[in-house]
């Protein structure tokens, strides 16, 4: 009896101790094993293991025994275990890291990088960049300088949208009003320039063809408004007015002044149009309550004829589903349209030359035990051999090389590349580590399969090819017909994304967001549009948007001055 009691006490205390121990450990914050100080030479005997957290939901989470990851690890002697955002917002997740004070080796905190810097969580890059040629080469000195923080040092690099050699961009990676190829084919490829044209085609098509191939009812137009993804609803007015994606404001190119796109006549006309279409039943009634997952699964069934969104937000998932389910032939793939509010205006939906968003990127944290190793890891991932492995895959397995040295894929290989199972067990892109688009260092191929001209053309579904022929286009970008007038300050969102409530402008920015989240659904659904719009404008004015505009103006002036100083030299 007594013995069991003692055992019970021991067990209880053991449990409480282990419960406490469990508390001190943050999941995902296990640090790398940091094998040796070795930075050069062939694969070291012991594999270095790093950890990384990316404040975005994973598009693909690879398996532990992923095949290409293994090959890369063998070649460079290091690997990285990636953790992704799940069920949280980026800033919440980063806030939790900061509050706990423990970090993984690599971190990409999305728009919360400044907060990580301010919390003293990051390693400065200045002493390392010159040692790693592939990293150094990634940006020009002026570009690197834009990453400098208030103490004059560099703490992260943006991994995306950087072009090596000749630009081979084929896809509108950014925003557009998208329309299914089947609608365009049915309407005999008309010229669609304005919002009115767009909805007219959608309505007419839906009246004539109310269902998909398997009898599901079409949804002529939907919009995603969940959380930060509500840009699909709210920022179209800037594009409709012919401005590029500064994201949070428009910049008058002549006067160099910040303008608010939320209150323009164009904004009112855009929302009025949505309101009309909503009352007609053209706009999806479930649009405002759908989650991102629901939105993606809606698009994947092919029922949605059109929406406003950014390519990366839907296409990677949705197009892959069309490919694997073999529904591409019904013309469900989306074509971008460069709409403006009135006819005959120039549009800037697409901005060429890559977009440098200095507000976010990949950083190395103070908890990383082997900083040199971490830099070497990034450097190695950017070497051509590894870059090809990441994005093209294994030669002869994932792609073939013709007699001229050009890479191409067979139909089966393309299907594999779109197959979720194949992606998790075979492909390893280290998708949030730095990567190139544009031309490969061999001068022939593209860095990314999607940008290989022959590969791009061959992989297009039949209905999309027909659209391209009808409009005389070679790429998605040709269809948009955008002009490029973005100034050196572009994109302004790289500043506003970092704004927090610690400044008057940031407080206004947060309140404006809250206000728009609450009011835009009301505005679109309102029975009496004009009255609701006036109420919305009143509530919006109470958020003091002028404070936000003033702070953005300061940043704009600063950027222009910095650019002038840099170009004078």
């Amino acid at each position: 009896m007594k013995k069991t009691k003692i055992a019970a006490v021991a067990l209880a205390s053991l449990m409480s101790v282990s419960a406490m121990a469990g508390c001190t450990k943050t999941p995902g914050a296990t640090t790398g094993t940091a094998a040796s100080g070795e930075t050069s030479g062939a694969a070291p005997a012991q594999v270095k293991e790093f950890s990384a957290f990316f404040a975005v939901p994973a598009t693909t989470e690879i398996n532990k025994d992923n095949e290409i990851q293994k090959i890369i690890t063998e070649k460079i002697g290091a690997k990285c275990n990636e953790t992704w955002l799940a069920g949280q917002q980026a800033s919440e997740a980063v806030g939790v890291f900061i509050a706990s004070g423990e970090y993984p080796d690599f971190i990409n905190g999305g728009d919360a990088m400044k907060a990580l810097y301010e919390a003293g969580a990051l390693i400065a890059w200045d002493d390392y960049i010159d040692k790693y040629p592939n990293i150094k080469e990634f940006f020009s000195d002026y570009e690197w300088s834009q990453f400098r923080q208030s103490d004059g040092k560099i703490y992260w690099m943006n991994p995306f949208e950087n072009i090596y050699g000749a630009d081979k961009t084929t896809t509108q990676n950014g925003e557009a009003f998208w329309i299914q190829a089947r609608v365009l084919e049915w309407a005999k490829y008309p010229k669609i320039e304005t919002l009115d044209d767009y909805f007219k085609v959608l309505e007419e098509y839906n009246a004539a063809n109310p269902t998909t191939h398997d009898g599901k009812k079409n949804i002529p137009y939907t919009m995603l408004c969940e959380d930060w993804r509500y840009f699909c609803l709210e920022n179209a007015p800037q594009f409709l007015d012919g401005y590029p994606n500064d994201g949070s404001c428009m910049v008058d190119v002549n006067t160099k002044k910040i303008m608010d796109y939320n209150t323009t006549p164009t904004a009112k006309r855009y929302f009025k149009k949505l309101n009309e279409e909503y009352q007609k039943g053209v706009v999806d009634t479930g649009a405002f309550t759908q989650t991102y997952d629901e939105y993606i699964s809606k698009l994947s069934t092919g029922v949605v004829l059109g929406m406003c969104d950014q390519w990366w937000d839907f296409a990677y998932t949705v197009n892959d589903v069309f490919k694997t389910q073999d529904t591409e032939k019904y013309g469900y793939n989306y074509i971008p349209l460069g709409l403006t509010i009135d006819k005959g205006m120039e549009n800037q939906w697409y901005t060429s030359g890559g977009t440098l968003n200095v507000s976010s990127g990949i950083a190395i944290t103070k908890d990383c035990k082997d900083v040199e190793g971490a830099f070497k890891f990034i450097n190695d991932l950017l070497s051509q051999e590894i870059h090809d492995l990441r994005f093209w895959g294994v030669k002869d397995v994932d792609y073939k090389v013709d007699e001229n040295g050009l890479y191409y894929r067979t139909e089966e290989q393309r299907k594999n590349a779109a197959d979720p199972n194949y992606k998790t067990k075979h492909l390893c892109t280290y998708s949030y580590f730095p990567q190139w688009s544009g031309t490969s260092r061999d001068g022939k191929n593209a860095m990314m399969p999607a940008e290989q001209p022959s590969e791009f053309k061959d992989s297009l579904p039949e209905p999309v090819k027909k659209v391209f022929e009808a409009y005389g286009a070679n790429t998605y970008i040709d269809i948009l017909g955008s002009v490029n007038k973005a100034g050196p300050w572009y994109p302004m969102y790289s500043y506003s994304n970092n704004m927090k409530t610690d400044t008057a402008g940031g407080t206004a920015w947060t309140k404006m967001g809250e206000c728009k989240h609450a009011w835009l659904p009301k505005v679109v659904m309102a029975k009496d549009f004009d009255k609701t719009w006036d109420e919305y404008m009143k509530a919006y004015a109470a958020c003091k948007p002028e404070d936000f505009v003033a702070e953005m103006q300061q940043e704009l002036d600063k950027r222009i001055a910095a650019y002038e100083a840099a170009t004078k030299k």
Partner: protein, 317 residues
């Protein structure tokens, strides 16, 4: 012991001896209560030190000692924020609705279950009813979302049996949200909450029921005049404990099921703290809101206790 006469000067020594005696006989109780005490100090008292950040412009890089003291500025910022009041109202409303439903359904369920004569049926119902308690809230939100979706079971029923023409979007109507939350809580927790009442019912002296039988009381009368009054102390204590939790009206349900259309009624204090505190890295503001919640909870508990004292009921302190 009774034969000994105790002198006042011996009393002290005697007490000491008695305590040691007692202690020797129950080391297990002492150790386990000591563990509980340590647990309480570590997890409930030490974290309160963090409250000082509410009076600072707290920056994690500078820590407690390096951050600037700003007095009540964060509280001012909090009370100037309109969304805060909205969130407070919603939290209070959902908290009160949940509290009322919690008690009414758990007690009613316990009383009814107690009247079930067939032992196996009783056990079966009890097990089935408390199972949902073990589901995580994330799973429950997914179930609720599915059940109430356009092609979910509720809309199927309404359209096929009740003759509704179109599906109702339950998450787009402000009037429904609080009741969806309340009902989900009832579904998940009623069986579990009833357990304590069922236990209390078994402790009621059977002779009371036998006497009532002799007097010819019906089953309903026995329930009303014996079972329910006997449960009164249990009910009062649980009520007092739960009043303090009114502002903890849940988090996952509102966070996940809320959307822009109904944010006026779905946003609760914990979501507000997430939006304006953690997401903005304004930990001070979040802490200030947390302190506010604790103060309100303390006031509610004291008030409840005071009323219980006045009416002569069972109370906490």
């Amino acid at each position: 012991m009774a034969s000994n006469t105790i002198k006042p000067e011996d009393l002290q020594a005697h007490k000491k001896v008695k305590f040691l005696d007692e202690a020797k006989r129950q080391p297990f109780l002492l150790i386990s209560s000591a563990l509980l005490l340590i647990y309480g100090i570590i997890f409930y008292y030490i974290p309160v030190i963090g409250w000082i950040t509410a009076f600072q412009d707290y920056k994690p890089a500078k820590g407690f000692f390096g951050s600037q003291w700003i007095g009540l500025e964060k509280f001012k910022k909090l009370f100037e924020n309109k969304t805060f009041y909205l969130a407070f109202r919603n939290t209070l409303a959902m908290g009160v609705i949940n509290l009322v439903f919690h008690f009414v359904t758990a007690i009613a369920f316990a009383l009814l279950l107690n009247e079930v004569r067939i032992f196996i049926a009783k056990k079966f119902i009890q097990t089935v009813s408390y199972m949902p308690h073990f589901l995580s809230w994330i799973i429950v939100t997914a179930i609720v979302r599915e059940v109430l979706s356009a092609d979910g079971i509720v809309n199927e029923f309404l359209m096929n049996v009740c003759g509704n023409e179109t599906a109702i979007d339950f998450f787009a109507v402000k009037g429904y949200f609080w009741w969806i939350v309340a009902f989900t809580n009832v579904w998940k927790e009623t069986g579990w909450n009833a357990i304590i009442y069922l236990a209390a019912i078994t402790a009621i002296d059977p002779s009371l029921y036998e006497a009532a039988d002799m007097d010819g009381a019906s089953r309903f009368q026995k329930m009303w005049y014996i079972t329910l009054p006997s449960l009164r102390p249990t009910i009062m204590i649980l009520l007092l404990i739960n009043i303090g939790n009114v502002l903890n009206a849940g988090f996952e349900l509102q966070y996940i099921l809320g959307n822009d259309v109904i944010s006026d009624v779905s946003k609760i204090l914990d979501v507000f703290i997430l939006d304006w505190g953690i997401s903005q890295f304004d930990f001070s503001l979040g802490t200030a809101a947390g302190i506010f919640k604790s103060v309100i909870a303390l006031i509610l508990v004291c008030l409840g206790n005071f009323i219980a004292k006045k009416t002569g009921d069972e109370r906490l302190f």
